[in-house]
C-alpha cells in the first residue's frame, strides 16, 4: 500500500485538457439550461392551463428519469431519426435538457415570489407583455434565484462526469485513461474527487458572492 502522486505529474496536461472540455460543456449547458429554464418557468407561471400542463410534464419527466438513461436515449436514439450529433453536442444537449428542468424550478420560485402589486402596477401603466417580462418579471426573478441557480450549476458540473459514458473524454473520461496508463487508479480518482470538490466549492462560493452583490439593496 502506497500513495504516490509524483508519477502522475506527466499526465497533468491530459487532465487539464479534460478539465477544459468539462468547463466548455458545462458553460454551454449552463447557457442552454438558463434559456430553457426561463422559457419553461414562464410557461409554468402562465395563465394558460395548456402551457402550464405541458411545462409540468417536461419537468416531471426530466427530474424523475436518471440522467444516464436520458443520455443514452439521445445518444442512441437521435441517429435513429436521422439527427447525427457528435458525442460532445449530444452531451451538451442532454445536460441542457436536464438542467433546464431544475433551472425552471428555481426561476419559477423567483417569479412566484414577486409581489402581485408590482405586476398590477406595471399592467396599469400600460406596459406591453414583452416589456413586462423583460423589465419587471425576469430581473426580479433572476436576481433572487442566483444562489439556488448556483447549486443547480454545481449539480450540472457533477452530472457532467456521466458524459464519460458516451465516449466523451472530459475530466472523468481522461482520468479513466490516465488511471489505465499509470496503474494507479486510487491516486488518480482520489485526486479527481478533490478537484471536483474544490471546483464546485469555488462555484458555490462565487454564486453566493454574486447573490449578495445583486441583492444588496434588499437587505
Amino acid at each position: 500500500m502506497q500513495f504516490d502522486l509524483t508519477s502522475l505529474v506527466p499526465y497533468f496536461g491530459d487532465l487539464a485538457a479534460g478539465a477544459r472540455l468539462t468547463a466548455l460543456a458545462c458553460a454551454l449547458a449552463l447557457a442552454g439550461s438558463l434559456v430553457l429554464g426561463v422559457l419553461v418557468a414562464l410557461m409554468r407561471t402562465a395563465a394558460s392551463p395548456l402551457a402550464r400542463r405541458a411545462a409540468g410534464v417536461y419537468v416531471d419527466v426530466f427530474r424523475n428519469v436518471p440522467f444516464i438513461v436520458q443520455l443514452f436515449f439521445l445518444f442512441y436514439g437521435l441517429p435513429e431519426v436521422g439527427i447525427e450529433l457528435s458525442a460532445f453536442a449530444t452531451g451538451v444537449l442532454a445536460l441542457s435538457l436536464a438542467g433546464g428542468a431544475f433551472t425552471s424550478d428555481t426561476i419559477r420560485a423567483g417569479i412566484l415570489a414577486i409581489e402581485p402589486g408590482v405586476l398590477e402596477a406595471a399592467q396599469v401603466s400600460g406596459l406591453s407583455r414583452f416589456a413586462l417580462y423583460r423589465r419587471i418579471v425576469l430581473p426580479i426573478a433572476l436576481r433572487s434565484a442566483v444562489r439556488p441557480l448556483g447549486s443547480v450549476f454545481v449539480n450540472l458540473i457533477l452530472t457532467s462526469s456521466i458524459l464519460s459514458a458516451i465516449t466523451l473524454n472530459e475530466l472523468t473520461g481522461s482520468a479513466k485513461i490516465v488511471a489505465a496508463d499509470t496503474f494507479q487508479p486510487f491516486e488518480v480518482y482520489a485526486l479527481l474527487l478533490l478537484l471536483y470538490a474544490v471546483l464546485t466549492w469555488l462555484v458555490s462560493l462565487s454564486a453566493g458572492a454574486l447573490h449578495r452583490r445583486l441583492n444588496r439593496e434588499q437587505i
Partner: protein, 223 residues
C-alpha cells in the same frame, strides 16, 4: 445469426434488472440512513475530532460526482488495499456512503430546526442529553426531515443507475444490453425511463403519506 426481435425472456430480464436496482436502492438507503444518523449524533454530542471528520467527509462526498466515487472504490480501493471487490460490493459501499453524506446534512439541519429554548427547558427539567434527543429532538426533527428526505430518496434511486457503468446488471445495464441486441433505442430507453419514473413516483407517494401521518398532530382536527 443475430436475434434482433424482442422476446418474452426480455421481460424477465427487465424485471430482474428492476429487482437489482430496487434491492440495491433499499439496502444502500438503510445503511446510508444508519451511518448518516450516527454522523449526526457525533455532532449532536459534540464528539471532538470525529464530529469534524464526519462533517469534512460529508462535504467531500456531497461535492464530488458519484461516478468518480464509484471508480475510486471499484478500481482504486482494491489496488490500495490489495484485495478484490465485486461490482455489487463496490456499489454498496459507494452508494451507502453517498446517501449517508446527504442524510447527515438533512439530519443536522433538522436537529437545528428544533428550537434552542426547548433544549434549555429540557435541561432545566433534568433530562439527560440522550433523553432530550429521544423524547424531544428526534420526534420533531423526523417530521422536519421527511420532506427533504423524500427528495433525497428519489434522487438516490436515479443515482443507482450509475452502477451499470462498473458492470452491475441493474435496470440501466439491462437497457444497454437490450439496446445493443435489438438496435431499437427509442423503445428500449423509453421503457427503461418509464420504469424508473414509476419507481420514483411510488417512492415519492409513500414518503408523502408518511409525512402527513407524522404531521397529523399539528393539524386542526376540529372541535
Amino acid at each position: 445469426m443475430r436475434y434482433a426481435d424482442f422476446t418474452a425472456h426480455d421481460l424477465l430480464l427487465l424485471l430482474q434488472g428492476l429487482g437489482v436496482s430496487l434491492a440495491l436502492f433499499a439496502a444502500t438507503t438503510a445503511i446510508g440512513l444508519a451511518i448518516g444518523l450516527v454522523w449526526a449524533a457525533l455532532r449532536y454530542y459534540r464528539v471532538p475530532l470525529l464530529a469534524a471528520l464526519a462533517a469534512l467527509l460529508a462535504e467531500l462526498l456531497k461535492n464530488s460526482p458519484v461516478l468518480v466515487q464509484l471508480f475510486l472504490v471499484f478500481f482504486g480501493l482494491p489496488v490500495l488495499l490489495e484485495t478484490d471487490l465485486t461490482p455489487v460490493q463496490a456499489a454498496l459501499i459507494t452508494l451507502s456512503g453517498n446517501t449517508a453524506a446527504f442524510v447527515y446534512v438533512i439530519a443536522v439541519s433538522a436537529i437545528e430546526a428544533v428550537g434552542r429554548d426547548q433544549l434549555e427547558t429540557a435541561r432545566v427539567f433534568g433530562l439527560s442529553r440522550w433523553q432530550t434527543l429521544r423524547r424531544i429532538v428526534a420526534p420533531q426533527a423526523a417530521a422536519f426531515a421527511l420532506g427533504p428526505l423524500a427528495g433525497l430518496l428519489v434522487n438516490q434511486l436515479q443515482v443507482t443507475s450509475l452502477i451499470s457503468v462498473i458492470g452491475v446488471v441493474d435496470l440501466t445495464k439491462v437497457g444497454a444490453i437490450l439496446n445493443l441486441r435489438t438496435l431499437k433505442p427509442f423503445i428500449v430507453w423509453t421503457v427503461i425511463g418509464l420504469l424508473y419514473y414509476l419507481a420514483a413516483r411510488l417512492i415519492a407517494g409513500a414518503c408523502a403519506r408518511l409525512e402527513t401521518r407524522l404531521r397529523a398532530h399539528r393539524e386542526w382536527k376540529g372541535l
